[in-house]
């Protein structure tokens, strides 16, 4: 596989990219035929393409953020983000992976800090959409038949699309409003503990009690039922049965091992 870049092509391409993203025409201008149209006009077409392609792909990945900001502000955000964090791949999917971090640096300490959590939620949804499949269904009767002494050693297999998001701000209601087409409410007080996973009919978001979220986090790290339970406050450790029913009901668990 050819791995060494062609130095002359690399120089030309680098100049072209700088002209598109940063309007630095110094290097590339003399290397483009004019022929009726100015170099600026010709490059402007490519700049528009690059900017529009990026903004459209970003909006597709971040529909809630797009709605929170409105089309004009979102488009400006996309262009600012594109120049600061340009696409790292020929696959458009990846261009949104740094948006939450970029946005957090800009909205931290402002009245719109919740937007970073909106972006984190939407990126978790994107990851969930393309995660692997697992058609497994947990066998609860078999789990119930496990001797009590062995139960703490049981491990759970989670669906590959499971993502856990601790959000500092209340963004779950915003997501619900987007799904229903309702007017967006303001951000609710946080924190929230969100479970994102893909079901047969699409990605769903659940707002979990803090204890369920902590338990599921431990399980996701490979912890046994007992280890996950031990991480909870003592007063909540007696409720493992109810907790299991709640979590299994979300579809996050596909098997007990």
């Amino acid at each position: 596989m050819p791995g060494l870049p062609d130095p002359a092509l690399g120089e030309l391409h680098g100049q072209f990219v700088r002209a598109i993203l940063h309007r630095d025409l110094a290097g590339v201008a003399g290397r483009i035929r004019v022929g009726g149209l100015s170099v600026e006009r010709r490059l402007a077409i490519y700049r528009t393409n690059a900017r529009e392609n990026f903004a459209v792909a970003l909006a597709a990945a971040y529909p809630l953020l797009h709605r929170c900001l409105g089309p004009e502000e979102f488009r400006e955000l996309a262009w600012t983000y594109q120049r600061a964090c340009p696409s790292p791949s020929g696959n458009l999917f990846h261009l949104g992976e740094r948006l939450a971090g970029f946005l957090a640096a800009h909205v931290s300490g402002t009245g719109r800090a919740y937007l970073a959590d909106v972006a984190r939620l939407e990126w978790a949804i994107q990851e969930s959409l393309v995660a692997g499949d697992d058609p497994g269904v947990p066998d609860l009767p078999a789990l119930a038949a496990v001797p009590g002494a062995a139960l703490p050693g049981v491990r759970c297999r989670l669906h590959p699309s499971v993502r856990l998001l601790p959000a500092a701000h209340g963004v779950f209601a915003l997501w619900q409003a987007l799904q229903s087409g309702d007017a967006l409410p303001g951000p609710a007080p946080g924190p929230e503990h969100l479970l994102i996973l893909r079901r047969a009919d699409g990605v769903v978001v659940h707002r979990l009690p803090a204890a369920d979220f902590a338990w599921l986090g431990c399980v996701r790290q490979g912890g046994t039922l007992g280890e996950a339970l031990a991480g909870l406050p003592v007063e909540q450790q007696a409720g493992l049965g109810d907790l299991l029913v709640r979590v299994v009901g979300t579809g996050a668990i596909t098997a007990f091992n």
């Binding site: 092509l9 483009i32 077409i45 791949s89 499949d133």
Partner: protein, 256 residues
């Protein structure tokens, strides 16, 4: 509709609904995977992760055709996610041919490479674009996906004769034709895939069929999509043009 073409990158997933839909489509239709992100003419090293995703998809979907573009898309790891023109030089041809050959080696099968619309040309050209395309295909051992709309757009934008382009392409290397609509910006034509195929492109398509013979043809319309019946009518128009050429020249073209 005898076969379906999709953008490869839209299915670079480990699972989920898109792959399930693709599997279902594959049960009933022939499939073509058309990539837009491999940057075959780029100077950055070939993206091995991207190529691995493509290989995995090819192995899963077993498409009849796999294609990419004669273009570049990144420099220094910065991707513009566009199909950018190459300088028509021997160095660029050899560089691109080596990468096409590497892709084919990885996939274990030949691919088609497609000409793109362009809005500028670089100084120092050592050959025409059609000489570059034909030379690339010969050197890399790949086929050609001939986009007739792109030929027209670039011919108008750069002032060359589209028929010269067609006549410079070896018929035996052409494995697929693309048609599409463009937008006239007043001072330049832009390949937008957002409009019906234009009259001059239909005329050029007929010339292409007369020169190339039977070639699977796809109409690209992926922006500002009209209703399905409008798309099907566009495909029927392509069929009608192909039938007319067949009657005139005794050839037959299959249209998707």
């Amino acid at each position: 509709m005898p076969w379906v073409e999709v953008h490869s990158e839209n299915f670079f997933a480990d699972g989920g609904a898109k792959l399930a839909v693709l599997d279902a489509v594959r049960q009933d239709y022939g499939l073509s995977l058309h990539g837009v992100g491999l940057s075959l003419g780029g100077a950055d090293p070939l993206d091995r992760e991207h190529l691995a995703c493509l290989k995995r998809l090819v192995q899963r979907a077993e498409p009849a055709l796999v294609s990419e573009h004669v273009a570049w898309g990144s420099a220094g790891g910065v991707f513009l996610n566009d199909l950018l023109p190459l300088p028509c030089t021997m160095a660029a041809l050899r560089h691109t041919a080596a990468r096409v050959a590497a892709v084919q080696d990885c996939l274990g099968r030949p691919i088609l490479v497609e000409n793109v619309s362009s809005y500028l040309q670089f100084e120092g050209a050592e050959m025409t674009e059609w000489e570059f395309l034909a030379g690339l295909a010969r050197e890399a051992g790949c086929g050609i996906l001939l986009d007739v709309n792109n030929i027209h757009v670039s011919a108008v934008n750069h002032g060359f004769d589209a028929l010269d382009y067609l006549r410079g392409i070896p018929a035996a290397l052409v494995g697929e034709i693309h048609l599409a609509g463009y937008t006239d910006a007043g001072d330049i034509l832009i390949d937008t895939h957002s409009a019906p195929v234009s009259a001059p492109v239909w005329a050029l398509y007929r010339e292409a069929l007369a020169l190339l013979g039977t070639v699977p043809t796809l109409i690209e319309w992926d922006a500002e999509l009209p209703a399905l019946d409008r798309l099907l009518a566009e495909a029927a128009s392509a069929d009608a043009h192909a039938d007319a050429v067949r009657r005139e020249r005794g050839t037959h073209a299959r249209v998707a």
